[in-house]
Symmetry: C3
Subunit: 177 residues, 3 copies
């Protein structure tokens, strides 16, 4: 649903300005850490499995898990290069927000999850694609980090901005993770 459509709808239907509740789930995935990628993708795949039209808008740190493992963020200037050292893309080395100081944290949690049959972020991303979850990278974040479309994994939708994300969010279950 584009912004124009919404505005036109309001212009043309003055008696029914309230948009309806939709059977949608829209997640603003701002965090790039393993323990937040998990709930993002578990909720997204569960929502899609329940028949909800589900969108995940990956923004800021949340974009990093979508960067190809072999790609390092390479910017035009020293600042983007510094960022690229601090935040390597890809989902093989996601940090765990709380326990990273001990180093063992992420490996430990992944191992725990494996034993208990909880899917990995990589598996969950694949499952999300198969279930038709709309995976949208944030254009502004891509610009900030000097990322091009081909630096991101396959199966994503066109990059978009906050306007698109908010249009989708109307009447939906909305979560900022």
């Amino acid at each position: 649903m584009s912004t124009e459509t919404i505005e036109q709808q309001f212009a043309e239907q003055p008696a029914a300005k309230q948009p309806p509740v939709t059977n949608k789930l829209v997640i603003f995935a701002w965090s790039g850490e393993l323990d937040k990628i998990w709930p993002t993708l578990i909720l997204a795949t569960t929502g899609a499995a329940l028949g909800k039209e589900t969108t995940v808008f990956f923004t800021f740190w949340g974009l990093f898990p979508l960067v190809k493992n072999q790609v390092r963020i390479t910017g035009e200037n020293w600042m983007q290069k510094m960022l690229s050292v601090m935040n390597r893309g890809g989902d093989d080395h996601l940090k765990l927000s709380k326990m990273n100081f001990v180093g063992a944290g992420p490996a430990m949690m992944k191992h725990l999850a494996d034993e208990h049959k909880v899917a990995s972020p990589h598996e969950l991303l694949e499952m999300a694609k198969e279930l038709g979850v709309h995976l949208i990278p944030c254009q502004m974040t891509m610009d900030l980090l000097g990322l091009k479309r081909e630096d991101l994994i396959d199966g994503l939708e066109e990059p978009a901005g906050a306007t698109k994300a908010l249009a989708e969010a109307e009447g939906a279950i909305t979560l900022f993770i």
Copy 2:
């Protein structure tokens, strides 16, 4: 509301596929730190006091405040045991996400709150129960951490998963904290 009910509703009422806005508040409580437990429980008790059907779904780190103070998370293997050392259950020693590095942070904030008559997490949990807030522990997190129902405080509802949480969230005010 079970998933089946929703799907049946859609199957039986093709002309009204949009679920209505409900007078509900559903909080996904992912964080276990004191400064996030506070808004979770203040918003939940306020919502319930306003007459909203209020549900808090405690998942991941958010489950820790529901673990009995005398219980330490004891797993079957070394990894769960490591986790148990790093995250002692119960609400007596919750950390404050930003200021914990100085150690004095949580005690200081609790003291500040006491002087200003802000309820403690323990009091807020009791108040939430009295107001009929649905307090639901996440089954998957319990499995991950090797926790049993009797390791958690009393007054909680049956453990459930993301399906139940998303079903409740439909048409509700939804917050991921």
Copy 3:
């Protein structure tokens, strides 16, 4: 919309207890760090530009960016004074949640943003006011920190509590950031 209005509405219209979806966006701004202030204000200004009635409820750490730059939080007791050292108000020295340990993080990101024409938090706050975003400071947080109305920047609405924020959130797109 006041709480009383909602309750009256329910009392007077027993046949239509479900509130409608509103064309609103309500953000609970809990975080005071630069990388969370950005999405808060980018989403708020975008929402307002799209014609949504947009409210940002600044609570807990989220209140700090609203404190005048020249004001340091000065409490009646040693605890509030300690807090005031740890969290200087104003938006000139907001931390970046992940990269602050290197010190260069916030300056680097601001510089990156400048080059890419992303507005600063200060500019975004001004833009939000011009677009009619309702900027509401949390009364309880102000009390906790010993802040008075005149310690906060101009252009804010009356301080309020969780009751007001939840009343606004009904039927809105809701995000806890």
